[in-house]
Symmetry: C2
Subunit: 73 residues, 2 copies
DNA sequence: TTGTGACTTGTAGTCCGTT
DNA sequence: CAACGGACTACAAGTCACA
Protein backbone atom coordinates (compact mmCIF):
# COMPACT_ATOMS: atom_id res chain seq x y z
CA UNK A 1 0.00 0.00 0.00
CA UNK A 2 1.45 3.30 -1.15
CA UNK A 3 1.96 5.91 1.48
CA UNK A 4 0.39 8.51 -0.81
CA UNK A 5 -2.85 6.56 -0.82
CA UNK A 6 -2.73 6.05 2.92
CA UNK A 7 -2.28 9.76 3.41
CA UNK A 8 -5.11 10.65 1.04
CA UNK A 9 -7.55 8.39 2.85
CA UNK A 10 -6.49 9.45 6.31
CA UNK A 11 -6.75 13.10 5.40
CA UNK A 12 -10.30 12.80 4.15
CA UNK A 13 -11.44 10.58 6.99
CA UNK A 14 -9.86 12.74 9.70
CA UNK A 15 -11.21 15.91 8.14
CA UNK A 16 -14.73 14.57 7.95
CA UNK A 17 -14.49 13.11 11.44
CA UNK A 18 -13.85 16.63 12.68
CA UNK A 19 -16.72 18.00 10.64
CA UNK A 20 -14.50 20.30 8.60
CA UNK A 21 -14.87 21.27 4.95
CA UNK A 22 -11.89 21.29 2.60
CA UNK A 23 -12.22 25.04 2.56
CA UNK A 24 -12.06 25.34 6.33
CA UNK A 25 -8.97 23.15 6.57
CA UNK A 26 -7.41 25.01 3.66
CA UNK A 27 -7.98 28.32 5.38
CA UNK A 28 -6.46 27.14 8.65
CA UNK A 29 -3.44 25.57 6.97
CA UNK A 30 -2.87 28.46 4.60
CA UNK A 31 -3.25 26.13 1.65
CA UNK A 32 -5.52 26.45 -1.36
CA UNK A 33 -8.84 24.59 -1.19
CA UNK A 34 -8.41 22.92 -4.57
CA UNK A 35 -5.00 21.64 -3.58
CA UNK A 36 -6.51 19.83 -0.61
CA UNK A 37 -9.01 18.35 -3.00
CA UNK A 38 -6.14 17.12 -5.16
CA UNK A 39 -4.37 15.56 -2.21
CA UNK A 40 -7.48 13.65 -1.17
CA UNK A 41 -7.72 12.35 -4.73
CA UNK A 42 -4.08 11.22 -4.73
CA UNK A 43 -3.07 13.57 -7.51
CA UNK A 44 0.12 14.57 -5.75
CA UNK A 45 2.60 13.25 -3.22
CA UNK A 46 2.77 16.03 -0.63
CA UNK A 47 6.01 17.16 0.99
CA UNK A 48 6.35 16.47 4.69
CA UNK A 49 6.05 20.21 5.30
CA UNK A 50 2.53 20.18 3.88
CA UNK A 51 1.64 17.10 5.90
CA UNK A 52 2.80 18.91 9.01
CA UNK A 53 0.76 22.04 8.23
CA UNK A 54 -2.37 20.03 7.57
CA UNK A 55 -1.93 18.10 10.79
CA UNK A 56 -1.57 21.33 12.73
CA UNK A 57 -4.68 22.73 11.09
CA UNK A 58 -6.60 19.70 12.24
CA UNK A 59 -4.91 19.58 15.61
CA UNK A 60 -3.52 16.12 15.21
CA UNK A 61 -0.20 14.26 14.99
CA UNK A 62 1.31 14.35 11.48
CA UNK A 63 2.20 10.68 11.88
CA UNK A 64 -1.47 9.82 12.22
CA UNK A 65 -2.04 11.12 8.71
CA UNK A 66 0.53 8.65 7.41
CA UNK A 67 -0.24 5.67 9.56
CA UNK A 68 -1.74 2.63 7.87
CA UNK A 69 -3.70 1.67 10.93
CA UNK A 70 -5.60 4.72 12.18
CA UNK A 71 -4.88 5.34 15.81
CA UNK A 72 -7.79 4.74 18.15
CA UNK A 73 -8.66 7.39 20.68
CA UNK B 1 10.35 21.15 16.12
CA UNK B 2 9.99 21.09 12.35
CA UNK B 3 9.27 17.75 10.80
CA UNK B 4 11.90 18.42 8.15
CA UNK B 5 14.56 18.67 10.82
CA UNK B 6 13.30 15.55 12.57
CA UNK B 7 13.46 13.67 9.29
CA UNK B 8 16.95 14.92 8.49
CA UNK B 9 18.31 13.77 11.83
CA UNK B 10 16.56 10.42 11.77
CA UNK B 11 17.76 9.73 8.26
CA UNK B 12 21.39 10.34 9.11
CA UNK B 13 21.26 8.46 12.38
CA UNK B 14 19.45 5.46 10.90
CA UNK B 15 21.74 5.38 7.89
CA UNK B 16 24.88 5.44 10.01
CA UNK B 17 23.44 2.92 12.43
CA UNK B 18 23.16 0.53 9.51
CA UNK B 19 26.66 1.32 8.33
CA UNK B 20 25.52 2.65 4.97
CA UNK B 21 27.03 5.47 2.94
CA UNK B 22 24.85 8.18 1.37
CA UNK B 23 25.77 6.70 -1.99
CA UNK B 24 24.70 3.19 -1.00
CA UNK B 25 21.32 4.37 0.28
CA UNK B 26 20.90 6.51 -2.82
CA UNK B 27 21.59 3.55 -5.06
CA UNK B 28 19.14 1.28 -3.24
CA UNK B 29 16.39 3.90 -3.20
CA UNK B 30 16.96 4.98 -6.78
CA UNK B 31 17.60 8.53 -5.63
CA UNK B 32 20.47 10.85 -6.45
CA UNK B 33 23.46 10.79 -4.11
CA UNK B 34 23.68 14.57 -3.73
CA UNK B 35 20.01 14.77 -2.90
CA UNK B 36 20.45 12.49 0.10
CA UNK B 37 23.19 14.79 1.25
CA UNK B 38 20.82 17.73 0.88
CA UNK B 39 18.08 16.00 2.84
CA UNK B 40 20.41 15.30 5.74
CA UNK B 41 21.37 18.98 5.74
CA UNK B 42 17.70 20.07 5.75
CA UNK B 43 17.95 21.82 2.41
CA UNK B 44 14.72 20.32 1.11
CA UNK B 45 11.42 18.94 2.36
CA UNK B 46 11.02 15.52 0.74
CA UNK B 47 7.73 14.21 -0.59
CA UNK B 48 6.23 11.30 1.30
CA UNK B 49 7.02 9.08 -1.69
CA UNK B 50 10.72 9.74 -1.18
CA UNK B 51 10.40 9.10 2.54
CA UNK B 52 8.81 5.77 1.73
CA UNK B 53 11.51 4.79 -0.76
CA UNK B 54 14.28 5.70 1.65
CA UNK B 55 12.65 3.68 4.40
CA UNK B 56 12.40 0.68 2.10
CA UNK B 57 16.04 1.07 1.11
CA UNK B 58 16.97 0.95 4.78
CA UNK B 59 14.44 -1.74 5.61
CA UNK B 60 12.57 0.27 8.17
CA UNK B 61 9.16 1.81 8.80
CA UNK B 62 8.70 5.18 7.05
CA UNK B 63 7.07 6.52 10.20
CA UNK B 64 10.26 5.91 12.13
CA UNK B 65 12.01 8.40 9.88
CA UNK B 66 9.50 11.05 10.89
CA UNK B 67 9.06 10.18 14.53
CA UNK B 68 10.43 12.58 17.11
CA UNK B 69 11.22 9.78 19.48
CA UNK B 70 13.09 7.08 17.55
CA UNK B 71 11.47 3.72 17.96
CA UNK B 72 13.51 1.04 19.66
CA UNK B 73 13.87 -2.29 17.87
C1' DT C 1 -19.29 21.85 -0.89
C1' DT C 2 -16.25 19.47 -3.92
C1' DG C 3 -14.04 18.14 -8.55
C1' DT C 4 -11.59 19.41 -12.46
C1' DG C 5 -8.83 21.62 -16.19
C1' DA C 6 -5.63 24.96 -17.46
C1' DC C 7 -2.21 27.61 -15.96
C1' DT C 8 2.16 29.78 -13.53
C1' DT C 9 5.68 29.59 -10.03
C1' DG C 10 8.63 27.47 -6.81
C1' DT C 11 11.10 23.82 -5.27
C1' DA C 12 11.90 18.89 -5.32
C1' DG C 13 15.04 16.02 -7.47
C1' DT C 14 18.97 14.93 -11.18
C1' DC C 15 23.49 15.27 -13.05
C1' DC C 16 27.82 17.32 -13.76
C1' DG C 17 31.77 18.48 -11.29
C1' DT C 18 35.27 20.28 -7.37
C1' DT C 19 36.79 20.62 -2.63
C1' DC D 1 32.95 9.40 2.06
C1' DA D 2 30.61 13.76 2.36
C1' DA D 3 29.76 18.91 1.42
C1' DC D 4 28.82 21.97 -1.96
C1' DG D 5 28.15 24.63 -6.52
C1' DG D 6 25.76 25.43 -10.94
C1' DA D 7 22.59 24.12 -14.43
C1' DC D 8 19.12 21.61 -15.52
C1' DT D 9 14.30 18.84 -15.55
C1' DA D 10 10.17 17.06 -13.17
C1' DC D 11 6.63 17.81 -10.45
C1' DA D 12 4.59 19.80 -6.15
C1' DA D 13 2.58 24.23 -4.77
C1' DG D 14 -0.57 27.56 -5.40
C1' DT D 15 -4.36 30.35 -8.27
C1' DC D 16 -8.64 30.83 -10.98
C1' DA D 17 -12.94 29.81 -13.53
C1' DC D 18 -16.57 26.81 -13.85
C1' DA D 19 -19.44 22.61 -13.57
Amino acid sequence: MEIRQTFARNLRIARQAKGLSQEEVAHRAGIDRTYISSLEREVYSPTIDVVERLAQAMEMDPLDLLRTTPAPT
